[in-house]
Subunit: 334 residues, 2 copies
C-alpha cells in the first residue's frame, strides 16, 4: 500500500501550438483471475474508487434478494450502477422506481444538484424549478440502496457507515478486492466510499469479468450487473459521455465505469480481464484517454471509432472551432 | 528552458476521510526587479501563460495611445485584463465599449460561450437567447484589441499572428519577460498566446510591480493597468471567483490574475514583487491554493480572511453539505 503520488507513470499530455502545456501522471493495472497481468505506475497505490465501484455497491441489491423481490429489470440494475446525466430518461426511471417501492424523493440521501443534461437543466430553469435528489447523478444507486433497505426492513439512514446495507457493501468490497479496506471517506452522494489498492480494484473487476450466471450467488450477481451495464450504456452515464459512447462502440460486450478524481474501470468478460486506473491529480481527460487506450490495446475497442478518437487523441478546438492542440497518451504509457 | 513536467514540486493535496486522494505538482517563482528571490519546482519550465498575461496583452492599448484617444477609464482597462463571468455588468460594459467605437458584437473574434454567471445564463435560457461573443470571458480583452486595431487603422482580423496588434503584443511580451518567446499557440479566445519560462512571467510581473506612472511610456502603462485591476476586482473576474475575492481581501493594493491550465500571477507594487505559478496538470483548485499561500507568505493577504480560507485550506463539502475532506498545500511547498 502506497500513497497515490508514489511511483506514478506519465499517462497523458496536453499539447498546444506544438508545445507541451500540461501533463498527467497516473497508475493503471490489468488483472485476470490469477492476478496482475499488466501495470503502469504503482499498482499498490491506495485510492478511493468513488463511483467506479458502483457495481460492487450494487451486489447486496441482488444478493439479498431485494432486486428480484420487487422485480427489477436489467435496466434498473444498470441505473443502480450509473453516474447518470440527470436527463429525463434517468430522472423518470429513478422516480418511478422509488414510487413503486412506496417511497418518494425525500427518502433519498444523495442530495440535489443541477443535472448535467442540458435539456433537463434548461427545462428546470425555464420553469423556475429547483433540481431535486432524483437529478443527482447517483440517484439510481440510491434507489438501489433504498430497495435493499426496505427489503431488509433496516433504518432509513442508509448511508451511515454502520447501517446494515453499508456493512454488506464493506464485506462485499473486501471479498471482491481480496483486501481489508484501507479506510473510508464520505462520497459526493454521502455514501461511504471504501479505499483500496488499485490492484484490489482491478482484481475486483477481473472477478466480475470471470463471473458467470449459475456459478453461485456472488458470481450470478456479478454477471447480471456486468451484463446490465454493458447492455444499457445510455443509462450508465448519458449522451455525449465517455462511459456511454465507449460502451456503445464495444457493442455490449464490455462494461466500463468512471469515478470522480480520475478513476476508470473496465470489465472484459470475453477476455476475463479487469482494468482499473486513476490519475494522480484527479483529472478525467487523462483517465478517459487512458481507458480508451487500454481498451484498444485489449482488442475490444476499435481505435478508429469516433468515440475512441474523441478520448484517445482528441483534437482540441476553441470557441470558434479553431484547432488549438491535442491530447495524447504519454509515450511509453501503453 | 525545460518541459513543464520536469522538476516540479508537490504543490497541493486533496484529502478525503483522512486519506490522501489526489495530489498536484507545480512550479512557482517570485521575482523582484533584480531577479528570482524564491522558487518552488522548476523556474525554467516553459509554459503558456494563457489569460494570466492579459495585462501584457493590454500594453499596446495604452502605449499606442488608443485608450486615451477614446477616453477609456480605469474600469475599461480592468475589463481589458479580465477573464470575466459574463455577468450583466461585464457584458453590458463590453457592449457599450465597442458600440462607442462604432463597432458591434460581430466584429469580435473571441467566439461565444455560455456565461459562467448563473443569473445571466438563466436569463438567456429563459428567453431562448443564444450566448453571444460579449459573453465570452475574454470579450473585454477583445474590446481592447478592437480599440487598438481601429486606432492603428489595421485589418479586422486582429487575432492573426502577423496582425500589427499581435506583433506589438509579441514585442511587449519579449521586453517585459526579458526573453525571446519560446513559441506560440492559439488560445481559447483565438488570440495568439506566447510561451515563456515561468521565470520570464514572474519577471514580467515584477516589472509591473515596480513600474510607476511618470517613469516613461512603458512604466506608465504598466502602472495604470495594475492599478485598474487592483481597483476593480469585480470586473477582472466576478462574484465568487478567486481573482475577485482575493483582490477585494487585499484592499486594492495587489493585482492578481488566473489563467487556464492552472496558471496564476500576482503583482505586488508595495513590495516590488511579481509572482507566477502553474500546476503541471492544469488544475485550478491547486493554483488557487498556491497563490493564496504565497500572498499570505508575502504579507499582503490575511490568512484568516474567508476568501483566503476558501482557497488556501478549504473544507470540501458534498451535495448535502456533509464534510468530505479538505484541500491543503503540500508540506514543504511554502
Amino acid at each position: 500500500m502506497s500513497r497515490v503520488d508514489q511511483g506514478a507513470a506519465a499517462m497523458a499530455e496536453i499539447w498546444r501550438g506544438g508545445m507541451l502545456e500540461s501533463t498527467h501522471l497516473g497508475h493503471a493495472v490489468i488483472c485476470d483471475a490469477q492476478g496482475v497481468v499488466w501495470q503502469a505506475g504503482n499498482p499498490d497505490a491506495v485510492i478511493f474508487p468513488r463511483s467506479s465501484c458502483k457495481m460492487i455497491q450494487a451486489l447486496p441489491l441482488i444478493e439479498t434478494g431485494a432486486a428480484d423481490a420487487v422485480g427489477l429489470t436489467p435496466a434498473h440494475l444498470a441505473l443502480s450502477c450509473a453516474s447518470h446525466q440527470g436527463a429525463a430518461l434517468h430522472v423518470g426511471m429513478a422516480g418511478r422506481w422509488i414510487a413503486d417501492l412506496g417511497l418518494d424523493e425525500s427518502d433519498l440521501r444523495c442530495g440535489a444538484h443541477e443535472p448535467y443534461d442540458r435539456d433537463e437543466r434548461d427545462r428546470l430553469i425555464r420553469g423556475a424549478e429547483a433540481p431535486c435528489q432524483l437529478h443527482n447523478n447517483c440517484s439510481g444507486k440510491h434507489s438501489g440502496f433504498l430497495t435493499v433497505t426496505r427489503h431488509l426492513k433496516a433504518g432509513s439512514e442508509y448511508v451511515e457507515i454502520d447501517h446494515p446495507l453499508q456493512k454488506a457493501i464493506r464485506a462485499a468490497t473486501e471479498e471482491v478486492t481480496g483486501e481489508t479496506v484501507a479506510g473510508w471517506g464520505v462520497d459526493g452522494c454521502s455514501a461511504p466510499n471504501f479505499a483500496m489498492s488499485l490492484t484490489g480494484l482491478a482484481r475486483a473487476m477481473a472477478s466480475f469479468a470471470t463471473a458467470r450466471e449459475g456459478q453461485g450467488r456472488r458470481a450470478s450477481a456479478m454477471a447480471r450487473l456486468t451484463q446490465a451495464m454493458a447492455s444499457h450504456p445510455e443509462l450508465v452515464a448519458g449522451e455525449g459521455r465517455a462511459c456511454t459512447e465507449l460502451m456503445r462502440a464495444m457493442g455490449g460486450k464490455v462494461a466500463i465505469k468512471t469515478g470522480a478524481e480520475g478513476v476508470f474501470v473496465a470489465i472484459l468478460p470475453e477476455q476475463g480481464l479487469g482494468i482499473a486506473l486513476k490519475t494522480v491529480d484527479g483529472n478525467s481527460r487523462a483517465s478517459e484517454a487512458a481507458i480508451a487506450g487500454l481498451l484498444v490495446r485489449a482488442g475490444v475497442l476499435d481505435a478508429a471509432h469516433p468515440a475512441t478518437q474523441k478520448r484517445l487523441n482528441p483534437v482540441q478546438k476553441n470557441w470558434r472551432g479553431v484547432e488549438t492542440g491535442e491530447i495524447r497518451l504519454a509515450p511509453g504509457f501503453l
